[in-house]
């Protein structure tokens, strides 16, 4: 059986004919070429495959692409807008929120969803939000700081004075 799916991925409508058993993570990576979403443990434990489905983080290795039919998906490729990094991405750079980068896309999508509903989360809330995702490099401390950095700088971004690609060199002014 082949089925036709249509969904909005990072703001663009996509359609494909797929087998029902195709998992969303593989649909994104292989059918759409969006390899920023990583594929890890296959058991919904590690969380590297997290994307947003209708604005909520989900583990895309445990969602069928068929289940996203008619819905909206956001991947790490959709965070940057018009050459301007999302404050979450900027925060991960400023605070060294990544080393190997494997967990990073999933962490950033979860963090983005957290800040969307809770603009000033406590450290505890940040740690809770990412508790279903594993990082083997950072010990999480720098990830938490990256999310805090983003929370602190979102207002500036909304006011038009936000970070741009030309300002990515870390200045340490926020430390």
């Amino acid at each position: 059986m082949t089925m036709h799916v249509t969904m909005t991925v990072n703001g663009s409508e996509v359609e494909r004919d797929i087998e029902p058993r195709v998992l969303l993570v593989h649909f994104l990576r292989e059918d759409l070429g969006l390899t920023g979403t990583h594929w890890g443990c296959d058991t919904s434990n590690c969380g590297t495959c997290v994307v947003q489905l209708d604005g909520e983080p989900v583990k895309s290795c445990t969602v069928l692409a068929a289940m996203a039919d008619g819905h909206t998906v956001k991947t790490v490729e959709g965070l940057e807008q018009g050459g301007q990094l999302d404050p979450i991405q900027q925060g991960f750079m400023e605070e060294h929120g990544l080393q190997c980068g494997f967990c990073t896309p999933g962490m950033m999508l979860t963090a983005r969803a957290l800040l969307d509903r809770s603009p000033n989360p406590s450290e505890g809330e940040i740690r809770e939000a990412i508790s279903g995702q594993i990082c083997r490099c950072t010990g999480y401390a720098t990830i938490v700081r990256a999310v805090q950095w983003a929370a602190e700088h979102e207002g500036a971004d909304a006011a038009g004075g936000g970070p741009t690609n030309g300002q990515l060199e870390t200045e340490g002014a926020h430390a």
Binding site: A66, T110, G132
Partner: protein, 291 residues
């Protein structure tokens, strides 16, 4: 790469359509909601349905509704919704306790109460919670609804009273005066299955004696309420000594299996300690809220 075996997929637009599809495709069809139990089993070929019937579009089953002396929860209500519900926290804090430790926050965005109950994993939390709360399960089939208690619903590991052409649509929880509840789980890390967990629901009489009590255990080989532990406390004024005796009774009732999560002895110890804690917390919550 773990990928399910091939299957056909249908999306139900109503409860009746879902049930009709189940009847049409027979025992080789399965409903899928959150999918966080079923899809991992399908990847490992522990489950191999020929048909998946997606019920995620059934918004009619996503509700939390007070209806007189009961709270009605739709089967498609996500764990996240239950965890965030102030009404649930006020009436049944055991649910909030348990939802805080069901899987992890991202999984909770997808997983549903109906899926958890129908999966009936021995280490699953909500079966214990619903048993302790005296829940009724509403099961819909071609001939309409039937309503059964959790004792009849939950038949054992991975087994429920839901027939292949039926679906769980709702859970109904009785609201009682001067009552509260609590749940506590020990897990090795976030998202892991329980090493052991315990839940309690307590109703106090006007004179402070325990009018009614329900105690349940998770992941230690006990599928029903722990009658021996309840009997220690029912009708009595709660005291440290009696609560300790109830904990010991729970430990005796437990039939845990030693595995990588712990020895039999350790799990029995947890059954004892966690039972004591949830009984104490339930009583304290009644006294705090004056409910």
């Amino acid at each position: 790469m773990q990928i399910p075996a091939p299957f056909d997929y249908a999306r139900a637009a109503s409860v009746d359509e879902a049930v009709a599809l189940l009847a049409r495709y027979g025992e080789d069809a399965r409903l899928i909601a959150g999918g966080h139990s079923l899809l991992p089993m399908m990847k490992l070929r522990l489950a191999r349905p020929e048909w998946l019937i997606d019920i995620n579009a059934l918004d009619e089953l996503d509700f939390i509704r007070r209806d007189g002396n009961r709270l009605r929860i739709g089967a498609l209500t996500r764990h996240r919704t239950l965890l965030d519900s102030d009404e649930v926290r006020a009436l049944f804090p055991i649910i909030t306790d348990a939802e805080r430790v069901v899987a992890d926050p991202v999984v909770r965005n997808r997983g549903t109460i109906g899926g958890s109950l129908c999966q009936a994993d021995p280490a699953e939390d909500l079966s214990t919670v619903c048993t302790v709360l005296g829940a009724e399960a509403v099961i819909h089939g071609a001939n309409g609804d039937r309503v059964i208690g959790m004792e009849d619903f939950h038949r054992g590991p991975y087994e429920t009273a839901v027939e292949f052409d039926e679906m769980l649509t709702e859970v109904r929880l009785p609201i009682r005066e001067r009552s509260s509840s609590a749940y506590e789980k020990v897990e090795r890390r976030v998202g892991d299955w329980a090493v052991a967990a315990a839940g309690a629901g307590v109703t106090l009489a006007e004179d402070g004696t325990i009018a009614d009590i329900a105690i349940g255990l998770t992941a230690v080989g006990v599928e029903t309420r722990v009658a021996d532990a309840e009997a220690v406390l029912r009708g009595r004024h709660p005291s440290d000594e009696l609560i300790a005796q109830a904990g010991q009774a729970a430990a005796r009732a437990a039939e845990p299996l030693a595995d990588q999560r712990g020895s039999e002895e350790y799990k029995r110890h947890l059954a004892d300690a966690l039972t004591q804690r949830v009984v104490r917390r339930s009583i304290a919550r009644i006294q705090t809220t004056g409910a």
